[in-house]
């Protein structure tokens, strides 16, 4: 019969591994929140590389719209968008649904900053305060 210490050691190892995993998870979760939220909320339409889809869905990568309409971007994410818009000289006319109401101001900030700094974009990043201010303008701030 083998020593009973072995399963206990194994259990300890498993527990230690699980703990390490969850700690790493804690850090990376928050750090990549913008990327994760983009993936779950935006990428189906705008593409994993912000490339858009032909003349149906406007691109976010290299989009002049982001520079020209910086002050309206937080409300665009919160409230969605309807009707014709011009991006890089091409007209688009699809419905963009409003962001789920459970997205906080800080989550919208992280999404916007992910877009502002990805795929070669070098837009000025947003502070949460700035995003909350924009959102108050369209009644969409939750103050968090």
């Amino acid at each position: 019969m083998k020593s009973p210490a072995r399963p206990a050691q194994l259990l300890r190892l498993v527990a230690a591994l699980a703990l390490t995993g969850s700690i790493v998870g804690c850090f990376s979760n928050r750090q990549n929140e913008g990327a994760r939220l983009y993936e779950s909320h935006c990428s189906s339409c705008h593409g994993t590389q912000g490339e858009g889809l032909k003349r149906l869905i406007p691109p976010l990568a290299g989009a002049d719209y982001l520079l020209k309409n910086r002050a309206a971007l937080a409300c665009l994410v919160r409230k969605g968008q309807k009707g014709q818009i011009i991006v890089n000289g091409v007209d688009y006319n699809q419905v963009m649904p409003p962001a789920d109401s459970h997205l906080t101001d800080s989550q919208i900030t992280n999404i916007l900053n992910f877009v502002q700094t990805s795929w070669g974009n070098a837009g000025e990043v947003f502070t949460i305060r700035e995003v909350s201010e924009q959102l108050r303008g369209c009644g969409g701030s939750d103050g968090r």
Binding site: M1, P7, K54, Q94, P97
Partner: protein
């Protein structure tokens, strides 16, 4: 006693757990080399009156009449002697449709030189997606006319009766964005109306598989034609 049993079983458990992760990797390789595509859907076995070997009747697409983005009537006859890929979408769909139609476009681009391959996208929102709306949608996607890719509409009940026959779940649902819940399935249909593959149009890997499967089906169709001559 319990601990020794635990000791003995643990490696077995770990091995089993490991193989769950490892096995799909192996079976993928097998799937890639498939030489004949399976028949999908329920099948019926009918004994022959003369006592010979029973006939297997495979699930097939029923007769349909639809209207495409150019205002033309299309039926099963439009697809006779060809293979086609079918899906269900709607023009204002904010959730999975752009991704699906983007993937469909990728398949279209790969096979657009081959007139044996057609495409059929059904709207599940015929009240909104009129012929001009469908034409605008198709053109925005870069599809100039319906010669290869039909964007089709029909009365609501016709569409919703067809969807399950293509292995697509579609229903009205006010809870989801856009008002319709539907799965993003692409069905690959052979020249005899049988379903030979179903792929999740929102998963790039599955559409890669469809792109690999299409030539397998086209080879089978070519051989069938040779035999018939």
């Amino acid at each position: 006693m319990i601990s020794s049993a635990f000791c003995r079983l643990l490696p077995v458990g770990l091995l089993a757990l490991g193989s769950i992760f490892l096995l799909p990797a192996c079976s993928d390789n097998q799937a890639e080399t498939a030489q004949v595509l399976p028949y999908i859907g329920e099948r019926d076995v009918r004994p022959r009156p003369d006592g010979g070997p029973a006939d297997t009747i495979f699930a097939s697409i029923p007769s349909f009449t639809l209207t495409n983005q150019d205002g033309q009537t299309i039926t099963n006859q439009t697809f006779a002697g060809k293979v086609y890929v079918a899906d269900f979408f709607f023009a204002t769909c904010p959730s999975i449709c752009p991704k699906m139609q983007g993937e469909m476009l990728r398949v279209y681009e790969k096979f657009k030189a081959n007139p044996q391959v057609l495409f059929l996208s059904h709207t599940i929102d015929p009240a909104h997606d009129s012929i001009p709306v469908l034409r605008d949608y198709a053109q925005r996607l870069g599809i100039e006319n319906a010669s290869r890719w039909h964007f089709a509409t029909a009365p609501h009940d016709t569409i919703f009766a067809l969807a399950p026959r293509y292995m697509t779940a579609a229903q009205k649902d006010s809870e989801v964005p856009g008002g319709y819940a539907h799965s993003g399935a692409f069905a690959l249909i052979d020249s005899e109306r049988h379903i030979r593959g179903v792929y999740d149009g929102t998963e790039k890997e599955q559409i890669d598989k469809l792109i690999q499967d299409l030539p397998v089906l086209l080879r089978e169709e070519a051989e069938k034609q040779k035999k018939a001559q």
